[in-house]
């Protein structure tokens, strides 16, 4: 009985704390963008210091629930790698459930065009890909919830 309670407590704590942040490199990001999948991939670039990014994070979290099984949401933090603890604390406070990464590469000009050639380097920025149809959409600005959902719906449609 006591053991069950402990396990239950740990489980509750884990759910409340959300995901932990995985530090990734550019090839990992590329893999994320190029992987074959039935699901539409939503990749959002953000940082803990970016107020408009934080404002739109709940929309991604909500979309993740509304389109469960149809999309995968990846939140890629561009905080510096020595800020990992801060990003983890933030993720846990906000109980983020999406896949969380910190992209550790500050030579931005070496990879930013791979995400999208039109990206000037500002965040928030979001790339949404349908690996089945090959369709992709890149948005370099803060999105409203309806905007995000409209793009997801558009990419979910076949052809």
């Amino acid at each position: 009985m006591k053991n069950t309670l402990v396990i239950l407590l740990i489980a509750v704590a884990a759910v409340a704390n959300g995901q932990s942040v995985e530090v990734i490199k550019v090839p990992d990001l590329q893999q994320l963008m190029e992987q074959e999948s039935e699901e539409v991939q939503v990749i959002n670039f953000w940082a803990t210091w970016c107020a408009p990014c934080i404002k739109e994070l709940p929309y991604f979290e909500k979309a993740r629930e509304s389109y469960a099984d149809k999309i995968k949401v990846h939140l890629v933090s561009l905080d510096f790698a020595d800020q990992l603890e801060k990003v983890n604390r933030f993720a846990s406070r906000k109980a983020l459930k999406s896949n969380l990464y910190l992209l550790d590469n500050v030579d931005y000009n070496s990879w930013i065009n791979k995400v999208d050639p039109s990206w000037t380097g500002a965040i928030p920025a979001t790339l949404i890909i349908n690996p089945k149809t090959g369709k992709r959409k890149f948005v370099e600005s803060e999105m409203k919830e309806e905007e995000l959902n409209a793009i997801i719906k558009e990419l979910l449609t076949k052809s």
């Binding site: 940082a47 210091w49 970016c50 408009p52 510096f80 790698a81 020595d82 500050v106 030579d107 931005y108 000009n109 070496s110 930013i112 990206w119 000037t120 380097g121 500002a122 965040i123």
Partner: protein
């Protein structure tokens, strides 16, 4: 009545464009229009004040952005290295102080003093200079070279290729550009992307 409609439509367009920079701005090779902005010492600064300058390292910068903070010492070092060679640094803060209170003129004065700025740090209060340049992020660099009586853009973009660690940067875009210009050559790399915080534009 029809005319009135056109007038209203034009006004609406005008408001739209005034509220948001259009994404245009200077490209490499463009001539730069001079400006007059207040620096942290209270004096107005124009490019034309620098009679002996061969060019400028104009940097859109601010107090609050983590990227600007990471580059703070490198920006000061660029001025130390190149001001006496005729390419002084001119830093400009264009952030709206309503949206970013830490970037008000008062805070700029404090920040420049605390960090012992030797270069001018100008307040682009109405954001017209950032808009004209097409600056989007901080820090965002424009290297200008005096050509005849004009200032011409020769490089646009980032300072180097390692935001976090100056020693680890193996591509020093701005230094390479200025070094080339000092030798009378064209920079090898004329445009990179200046990753950083977005300039905080006034709410329309």
């Amino acid at each position: 009545m029809k005319n009135l409609n056109i007038l209203v439509a034009s006004l609406a367009l005008l408001v739209f464009f005034a509220g948001r920079p259009t994404g245009s701005g200077y490209e490499v090779g463009d001539k730069v229009k001079d400006f007059s902005l207040k620096s942290v010492d209270g004096k107005m600064v124009s490019l034309a004040d620098y009679k002996t300058a061969k060019g400028f390292i104009v940097i859109f910068d601010c107090n609050t952005c983590p990227f600007s903070k990471a580059y703070l010492n490198r920006i000061k070092a660029l001025n130390d290295k190149y001001a006496d060679n005729g390419f002084p640094v001119i830093a400009i803060n264009s952030n709206d102080s309503k949206r970013s209170p830490g970037d008000s003129y008062k805070e700029m004065v404090k920040y420049a003093k605390k960090n012992d700025y030797q270069h001018p740090y100008l307040y682009d209060e109405d954001q017209s200079v950032a808009t004209r340049f097409g600056a989007t992020n901080t820090p965002h660099v424009y290297v200008l070279k005096k050509t005849g009586n004009e200032m011409v853009v020769d490089y646009i973009g980032a300072i180097d290729n390692n935001t976090k660690d100056a020693d680890a940067a193996d591509k020093k875009y701005v230094e390479d550009a200025v070094d080339a210009l000092l030798k009378g050559q064209k920079p090898g790399v004329t445009k990179t992307k200046a990753i950083g915080c977005t300039i905080k534009w006034k709410e329309a």
